[in-house]
């Protein structure tokens, strides 16, 4: 199975029944697969006029009760930003897949990159937090898509799944989990009297139950600053509460959201911090390094946002050297790693930004070479 197909299958497994999108390489296989599968399941596939409309329709459908999602790549992801902010502000569960390709602009349309990392975190105006997950194998394309929907539903947030083109187009054998094998989370529904329902009144866990349009609960959702009832509210005290609540909702569940994998990190002198396809090169490099007598280990960031700073710090401070391979020029992950471990650690970057993969040799050269 191809990574992109596994994403579509994972979404359907998680209960997605609405897809709106606008085709773009290297994500189009997800749309194609959804257009074949969703009508069979009684779901909706709709091709919109652009990505602005796609994410808007996804949000609308979610509020009508659907688990909904879209997939795109850099240029389309840029177009989605404003409306993605509405999903944050209105606390609307949904999933956006950004199969990362090389930029800037149209760039190398068919080639991989990991250069949307900061855009995913900071691309929208206004102050907000976001969850982003990054698969490194076809199997993870499936399982992390299910996780993305679960996080979206549990915390009433948009979740970005950010495979790079290599992982999106990679083919591997995967066994599709049987129904019930993976946990599937559904959003909390309101239970009290409809007259008392407040769509932004959070429970103990910081998340408010969400009704669906057309049920017995009538509700307002707004991109403008709003109060508990969803109606406009410009009071500074209300605005402060809102912005804080949107951040805190994610912060307080940080440990459930941050997912990492460790490969030989227990005794590692050299720590590789990887995501997506570079995890594969990183693991190969670590194995080769150990063969040559250097104790290397890999920390894979399955969750990229919120950034696994504590995990990086824990392992990074024990290591003599940290190496961060990533397919971008600016060292978007390396910067976060530096923040986590402080200025004194020997942190080395391996960057490629020409649309080709970072090889184990690239990593070894930096890891084993003189500083």
């Amino acid at each position: 199975m191809q990574g992109n197909h596994a994403i579509a299958e994972g979404a359907i497994y998680a209960g997605a029944r609405f897809y709106a999108g606008y085709p773009i390489t290297p994500s189009s296989e997800i749309a194609e697969e959804c257009s074949r599968k969703l009508p069979k399941l009684g779901g909706v596939y709709i091709q919109m006029e652009d990505e602005i409309a796609s994410i808007a329709a996804v949000i609308g459908a979610s509020l009508a009760g659907a688990k909904s999602f879209t997939a795109t790549s850099g240029p389309g992801f840029s177009l989605m930003q404003e409306n993605l902010g509405l999903a944050v502000m209105g606390e609307v569960p949904c999933v956006v897949v950004d199969v990362q390709r090389a930029g800037p602009s149209t760039g190398l349309a068919t080639r991989p990159a990991q250069s949307d990392i900061m855009q995913i975190r900071w691309g929208r105006h206004g102050d907000q937090s976001v969850i982003a997950l990054c698969p490194s194998s076809v199997k993870e394309c499936f399982t992390l898509t299910v996780t993305a929907f679960n996080f979206a539903e549990r915390y009433r947030v948009p979740v970005v799944l950010m495979p790079d083109e290599i992982v999106g187009h990679m083919r591997e054998n995967v066994e599709v989990p049987a129904p019930g094998e993976l946990e599937v989370v559904d959003r909390k529904r309101p239970a009290g009297p409809p007259a008392d329902y407040k769509p932004f009144k959070a429970d103990e866990d910081g998340v408010a139950p969400l009704a669906a349009y057309g049920g017995e609960y009538v509700f307002h959702v707004s991109s403008s600053m709003h109060g508990l009832d969803g109606y406009s509210n410009n009071d500074p005290a209300n605005a402060a509460w809102r912005v804080k609540q949107l951040h805190e909702k994610i912060d307080r569940h940080r440990d459930e959201i941050v997912l990492t994998k460790r490969f030989g990190t227990d005794d590692a002198d050299v720590l590789l911090v990887t995501l997506g396809a570079t995890t594969r090169s990183g693991r190969a490099a670590a194995i080769e390094a150990r063969r040559q007598g250097v104790k290397a280990g890999v920390l894979q960031l399955q969750t990229v946002w919120p950034f696994p700073d504590r995990e990086v710090a824990e392992l990074g401070r024990r290591a003599k050297m940290i190496v961060v391979p990533e397919m971008n020029y600016s060292g978007q992950i390396a910067g976060e790693v530096r923040k986590a471990v402080g200025p004194d650690v020997d942190l080395r970057q391996v960057n490629r930004y020409n649309g080709t993969i970072i090889t184990p040799q690239d990593i070894l050269a930096v890891m084993l070479g003189a500083k």
């Binding site: 009508p39 006029e49 602005i52 609308g60 009508a64 009760g65 409306n83 017995e216 707004s222 991109s223």
Partner: protein, 272 residues
């Protein structure tokens, strides 16, 4: 027979509203809510989707379901709602900036898709909320806060655009003709497929002030004097039409709507 007031859809305790005196938005909203009442719409099965602008504030006064969206995108959000739950009455309320300027692409595609929504576009010929700047519906050579020497561009005819792009229904109204507006709203709401109600409306604060209609009622009178029923309009010689505003039901036809077409797709998928 008692007349519908529409007040049962109004949020209590929020008046007075934010709109300037002499603005047409309140009259538009009144007509829409009366239409809701005459059609026995429930708050549970009705979703109002608004854009951004003076017009886009309308949901703040309503107690139906609502989604207040981003500038120009209301129809795209509404499309997602309706495509997923065809049972809902989905109404998008937008300004002319929202509806056909920044949102022009969504508008023509909603028409083409002929999805069973009602789009109410309050056309006050400018961007009211942001200070009366030029819009895609500002007539040529008119003055706005960004066309100090006149507008060099042409304006969209919203109803003609709707017709060309494939909508099933298009009507034009003015706040001077409140009863007719309500009737057009009802037709639009009950029409299957995409329906557009264009409400050409005064914005005395900006458009009126910039265009020698300085007193609050002037722009309303200007609309009254130009308005002519579409039936009479069609009988006018071409030369006399230019300064007139045809009102009434301009387009009414029955192409299949998106949801009906999609049911065919689903049936085929489920058979295969």
């Amino acid at each position: 027979m008692s007349h519908a007031t529409g007040t049962k859809y109004l949020k209590g305790g929020i008046l007075p509203h934010m709109w300037c005196s002499g603005c047409g938005i309140g009259i538009m909203l009144g007509a829409l809510l009366r239409a809701f009442e005459e059609l026995d719409y429930t708050t549970t099965d009705t979703v109002v989707v608004t854009g951004i602008g003076c017009t886009g504030k309308a949901d703040d006064y309503m107690i139906t379901n609502a989604l207040h969206t981003t500038h120009g995108r209301a129809l795209a959000y509404a499309t997602g709602i309706k495509a997923y739950n065809p049972r809902l009455n989905v109404v998008a309320i937008m300004g002319d900036g929202d509806g056909v300027t920044i949102g022009g692409n969504h508008f023509i595609h909603a028409c083409r898709r002929n999805i069973d929504l009602t789009a109410v576009i309050l056309n006050n010929l400018n961007f009211g909320m942001t200070g009366g700047q030029v819009s895609g519906t500002t007539p040529p050579q008119r003055y706005t806060s960004t066309t100090a020497y006149g507008n060099p561009e042409r304006d969209f005819d919203i109803c003609a655009l709707a017709e060309a792009a494939g909508a099933n229904y298009a009507a034009r109204c003015t706040p001077y003709h409140g009863w007719e507006m309500k009737e057009n709203m009802k037709e639009a709401l009950t029409k299957k497929g995409f329906s557009v109600v264009e409400v050409v409306s005064p914005c005395p604060t900006h458009f009126g002030r910039h265009n020698e209609m300085k007193e609050t009622p002037d722009m309303l009178h200007w609309l009254r004097d130009r308005a002519i029923s579409i039936e009479d309009y069609r009988r006018l010689p071409e030369a006399e039409r230019t300064e007139r505003l045809a009102i009434g039901t301009l387009v009414s036809r029955d192409f299949p709507d998106f949801n009906t077409q999609y049911e065919l797709v689903k049936a085929r998928a489920q058979k295969g």
